[in-house]
């Protein structure tokens, strides 16, 4: 077997120029896939962490009712005694902190004009401790213990629409939990530019006590749990689930991925593009290799005839050609991995920037992540492609008529 492998290996280098061209093509395909896949991975990884750190957190706790029916009134499916719920999970492994939230909606008015908003109420201290930092373009973040007026952050587009700036006042109107209309005057302390203009056109954030006064409820919508690392999400999820049993309200725990609709869309789009590129590389390698391997087969017709004449089983000839192609694919993959990773490192240190992704206004730095799964996948792709490309030449070689092959010139 070792000698057979040696024969296959040495056969690869019989025509060095042709082998070099094949290796460059295969290596180029692998390197291209690694660079594209690595960039996509960087984008999705960045989006993932951005999504989580912009306030989604790693896990979120809701009442089960929240997912079973629509709210008739604001917060009527909210968490009653949220401090008890928070206490039951905050000692969990990997838990870095817990932040209560209220999601509410209503109208915001400057006296002359009213616009709808999608608001959130937060505990600024808890948010800060979890690293959930709003992208404040001008002004400052909410004060955890404001003295006088209710403070608010609003989105850049909303501020533009309402023609207000930091220090100006607005009136926030919302329905209370009793179904009455309530209002509170707020002072704008910061303008937020999240990078997504659509979100910024509806963005309003106030403190939790202010929202509870506005909505006239002690309830909250959910608790956001921050972990030490995104990679620990599954482990923390399964560890936390039993802790939520036995509470007065039935609770439901959600992972960030279940709530990150936009991230999932972007991720599946990149996966689709990567798959498409993989298919192109697969067929490119397959088609060009068939021709190369057929040429190699024709050149070795007399030698194959000799091997068959000496009694070499035809299956061995098939195996020899497939082994040669597989080795060639593996060598091409190694070259591609080296080139792809090296180019990736060079690009990472180049400081290049790419246009903003869909829905964002901030340019993305060009970085390439080194993803082991992509390296293995790309390598397997070209190896399988070459092995498949060798089937036709291998079968033709094994079916040669010996007498004719021996007289082949």
């Amino acid at each position: 077997m070792a000698k057979f492998l040696l024969l296959a290996f040495r056969n690869i280098f019989r025509n060095r120029r042709r082998t070099l061209m094949t290796l460059l093509m295969v290596g180029g395909g692998v390197a291209g896939l690694l660079l594209a896949g690595g960039y996509f991975a960087f984008m999705t990884h960045g989006l993932r962490e951005d999504t989580i750190n912009s306030g989604l957190g790693h896990l979120q706790i809701f009442t089960a009712e929240h997912f079973e029916r629509d709210e008739n009134r604001v917060l009527d499916t909210g968490i009653d005694n949220w401090r008890q719920v928070a206490a039951s999970v905050k000692t969990g492994e990997h838990v870095r902190g817990i932040a209560p939230r209220i999601d509410f909606y209503g109208m915001v008015s400057n006296g002359a004009k009213a616009v709808g908003f999608m608001g959130s109420a937060v505990d600024p201290e808890a948010e800060k401790s979890l690293g959930f930092v709003s992208r404040i373009e001008t002004g400052r973040d909410l004060d955890p213990k404001p003295g006088g007026e209710v403070e608010a952050l609003i989105g850049k587009e909303l501020a533009k629409s309402m023609n207000v700036n930091v220090g100006d006042g607005l009136t926030v109107l919302a329905m209370t939990s009793d179904g009455a209309l309530n209002g509170v005057d707020v002072q704008i302390v910061g303008i937020v530019n999240s990078g997504a203009p659509e979100r910024d056109a509806r963005y309003l954030r106030i403190t939790l006590p202010a929202a509870q006064r506005l909505l006239q409820s002690d309830r909250i919508t959910n608790l956001v749990v921050g972990l030490d690392s995104t990679e620990n999400t599954d482990q923390a999820y399964f560890e936390m689930m039993p802790r939520l049993n036995g509470l007065p309200q039935r609770m439901e725990l959600k992972k960030w991925i279940d709530l990150a609709t936009y991230y999932k869309q972007v991720n599946s789009m990149f996966n689709g593009i990567f798959l498409f590129m993989g298919i192109i590389v697969f067929f490119m390698v397959l088609m060009s290799s068939v021709n190369t391997l057929l040429m190699s087969m024709f050149e070795r017709t007399r030698e194959i005839g000799t091997m068959l004449a000496m009694g070499t089983p035809r299956a061995w000839i098939v195996a020899l050609f497939m082994l040669e192609a597989t080795l060639l694919g593996a060598m091409g993959a190694v070259i591609g991995l080296a080139a792809g990773n090296l180019l990736g490192m060079l690009l990472n240190s180049s400081g290049l920037h790419m246009p903003p992704p869909p829905g964002y206004s901030v340019p993305m730095p060009f970085r390439v992540r080194h993803v082991p799964v992509q390296m293995i996948g790309s390598s397997l792709l070209v190896i399988v492609s070459l092995a498949l490309a060798s089937i036709l030449p291998a079968i033709r070689a094994s079916r040669l008529r010996i007498a004719e092959a021996l007289s082949h010139v």
């Binding site: 040696l6 030698e303 009694g311």
Partner: protein
């Protein structure tokens, strides 16, 4: 002596087409007609005749690399016309050694690895392979060149490697097709002496095709072919037409 090869009323015709895929018109050319030949174990036999007389065809048929159109061939008592391709390959692998006009060594293998090849496909253990390869190379006087690749060997050395490859698995029969055709006189004479010596020393049966007079001088039995027919066999004719 025990009969090793029986060629009984063997004919071989080849189809020729006019090269037009849509309207092929087939004609046939007869390469061998009603040939009969009996070879005993241990013989040193030459098949002679001009180009196109059917020497290579007859060797191919005896060597089971081609099938007769009619008639039958027995090798070591086995009727090769009844064998399936796999069994033919086994027969070739175990009982026949080949020496080709153009040496046909595997260029990426060293001399020793080329000689080892028939043992590899017989799946002989590595220790035994090593000793038999050394023995075969010793018998052709090429032990010192064992690690050279064919492109670094002279024509004579290449053909001696081919002979070592043909005998390393101890076949019942060695077939050599024009073994001296690509050799100069010196190397041709050396090769003839080598083959004859192996025949005498090891009792190996050699059947070779040639029209090399130097080789024929060393050969006791000569079968002459002309236009696909056996026209003389000095073992039958008592040498009168040889």
């Amino acid at each position: 002596m025990q009969e090793l090869v029986n060629v009984e009323a063997v004919s071989r015709r080849f189809a020729l087409d006019n090269g037009q895929a849509r309207h092929p018109v087939h004609s046939f050319v007869s390469a061998l007609s009603n040939a009969n030949l009996h070879v005993s174990a241990g013989e040193f036999l030459a098949i002679s005749g001009p180009s196109g007389s059917g020497k290579t065809t007859l060797l191919n048929l005896i060597g089971c690399v081609d099938q007769p159109t009619s008639g039958r061939i027995l090798v070591d008592g086995v009727d090769t016309s009844k064998l399936k391709p796999g069994s033919m390959a086994t027969l070739r692998r175990e009982k026949i050694g080949f020496v080709f006009q153009t040496f046909n060594l595997i260029p990426v293998f060293t001399a020793a690895e080329n000689v080892e090849y028939p043992l590899l496909i017989q799946q002989v253990g590595s220790r035994e392979r090593r000793s038999r390869v050394a023995e075969a190379l010793e018998s052709v006087g090429l032990s010192a060149r064992a690690q050279q690749r064919p492109d670094l060997l002279s024509g004579g050395e290449r053909q001696r490697v081919a002979v070592a490859r043909a005998i390393v698995h101890r076949p019942a029969l060695v077939l050599a097709d024009e073994p001296t055709a690509n050799l100069d006189t010196h190397n041709a004479t050396q090769l003839i002496d080598l083959m004859h010596g192996l025949n005498q020393r090891l009792g190996l049966t050699f059947i070779f095709s040639t029209h090399d007079a130097r080789l024929l001088e060393h050969t006791e039995r000569i079968v002459r072919l002309c236009d696909g027919e056996v026209v003389s066999d000095n073992s039958i004719d008592g040498g009168s037409r040889g």
